[in-house]
Symmetry: C2
Subunit: 233 residues, 2 copies
């Protein structure tokens, strides 16, 4: 057997990855234990552990105590989506960022929003609508419901100077959240906001966040046709 010492966790990971992708270890098969691999590579068990932990996080192997590690049959690989502040997303595409607040009011939360946030139907929330512009053209349309009680000092903020999006990221911490991605036909208000035809296909990102169980905000971001999110595997 090869007696070449691999003594970096990245090196071990690369070698294990090679054996998996080249089917030296087949899907479903149990692979050698940490101790054995450590002996083979001439490194410490902790090093092998680090490498295998990364492979497990990437969804390539499954690890169970006492049972050992095995190659996953369906490696449902994970793609990491980065969710930046919209201003940075716009600027990252080389466009000049501006935004415009369309509407700000206090109103009863729609049932769907109340359900997503897990609050009493009929609760009063702050409703904000805004449009984000890239080089003056609509980039995304924002429709947000905000639990003002959870973010005390926001009544004094001028949302023409800083976007709600960005202000919240900086001032309203959250501990849990979920994101839903979908496609939809643009509603009349979204179409107007984005300057497109009603019914045109839009990319929709819906995000809901809580802080230690307390609902913070539910936002629907609508992107016009042509927008796409890309990530590497």
């Amino acid at each position: 057997m090869n007696e070449i010492a691999i003594n970096s966790w990245a090196g071990v990971r690369a070698e294990l990855l090679r054996r998996i992708t080249e089917r030296i270890w087949k899907p479903g098969e149990t692979i050698p234990g940490e101790e054995q691999l450590a002996r083979e590579f001439g490194c410490a068990r902790a090093t092998v552990n680090r490498a295998m932990r990364e492979l497990a996080e990437a969804g390539l192997i499954e690890r169970r105590r006492r049972a050992g590690s095995r190659v996953r049959v369906s490696p449902d690989r994970r793609a990491v989506l980065r969710i930046p502040v919209i201003r940075l997303e716009v600027e990252g595409r080389g466009l000049g960022y501006r935004h415009r607040l369309i509407e700000q009011e206090t109103a009863m939360a729609p049932l769907a929003v109340a359900a997503r946030l897990g609050i009493e139907p009929g609760s009063r929330l702050t409703h904000l609508r805004a449009v984000h512009l890239g080089d003056g053209r609509p980039f995304a349309c924002e429709d947000r419901w905000l639990n003002a009680a959870a973010v005390p000092d926001f009544s004094q903020v001028d949302f023409n100077a800083i976007s709600i999006n960005e202000w919240l990221v900086l001032n309203a911490p959250f501990t849990e959240g979920d994101i839903t991605l979908s496609a939809a036909a643009a509603g009349p208000r979204e179409a107007e906001c984005l300057g497109i035809a009603a019914g045109a296909p839009v990319f929709v990102v819906e995000r809901t966040t809580w802080n230690r169980g307390e609902p913070i905000t539910a936002v629907r971001l609508t992107y016009p046709p042509g927008y796409s999110m890309t990530t590497r595997l």
Copy 2:
């Protein structure tokens, strides 16, 4: 100061997270070094390192040698998308899975596909079209271009028995790939395949994969209105 010992990396992470979300350490601020925190928590530096590494991976802090670690100003949090085999996605929703191969041919790759894969325009590739069904109703429409040379033994496979999607996951390993998510209007063939009106908004997932630089496949998956991808933050 509190002299409570925290000696698990998860505990340290939780405490650091608390100090960040409660703005004890403000965005942009430098936080104490590993050694100092290790003394404060009464644990080893490696334990603090593990906790801080996780926070850095989650996008909450930025770490640089010699300069120390600081709280990110815009914590562009990362959401992890799991990309399973479609059969498992369908079955995970409690639906019975079936699929149907619509077309299989060898043809010249369209320019867009050749560009995505990084091959000569005009190269001949295998073109496959199929529909995935959940409880008999269209769940997703698949349009795939495959570099048959990279997957030698596929001509003998009966894609009515196993879906191309699943067969490739099991038999065509890849080392790199990218995914693009977008919304589009259903084209005529997609509309027919999904049983919806042409022009209806569809959710599009485009995936391209390579194996050590060699192009493997480019696939466009189209999901009918109502489909959504959800992930926790």
